[in-house]
Symmetry: C2
Subunit: 103 residues, 2 copies
């Protein structure tokens, strides 16, 4: 349905989608075949969604898969770097490595 702000966390994103659709957490979790407690944790960024869930979210909310994936991936990167120093430098080097086609 609606396009998401990429700067939002994955949790914020799917909570917003759920609320736009006026669905209870319990209803969404049933559709996704996961326990409501897990969805709650995901929405509150207390747990990272399994990658396969992204597809289910995009189908359920009729929203773009790649958009959600980008949000999810960027969350993972942020999570991996959040306690580190020199984050900008790390990202810059990572991008260089990717451009060079290096592993």
């Amino acid at each position: 349905m609606s396009s998401q702000k990429m700067e939002n966390s994955f949790g914020e994103t799917i909570r917003k989608l759920r609320e736009e659709n006026n669905l209870f957490l319990r209803e969404v979790s049933a559709q996704l075949e996961i326990d409501a407690s897990i969805l709650s944790k995901i929405e509150n960024n207390n747990r990272i969604a399994k990658k396969e869930l992204i597809k289910k979210f995009s189908t359920l909310f009729n929203t773009d898969y790649n958009e959600l994936l980008i949000i999810w991936l960027s969350d993972k990167i942020v999570n991996e770097l959040k306690d580190e120093k020199n984050i900008k430098k790390v990202l810059k080097i990572a991008e260089q490595k990717i451009n060079n086609g290096k592993k």
Copy 2:
């Protein structure tokens, strides 16, 4: 000792350091208290070094810890994104999130 090219992989970096110091893999692995097979895999980028090893490497080779850490972290990021599309966008969003102080 010498400063490392950041665009190199962690494996290439420590192999170069080892060779500059004319040490056998077996000697370095003994210093690091890991099996030689693990070090071999790390040098060949077939396994990611545990984070705590970075400190030992920097001590052993008398090289800057933060430099090695940046190389190691950027490798991890590359690894996480290597099979994905929209990598540049993901990195851009990740940086935005970090700048915004968001999780």
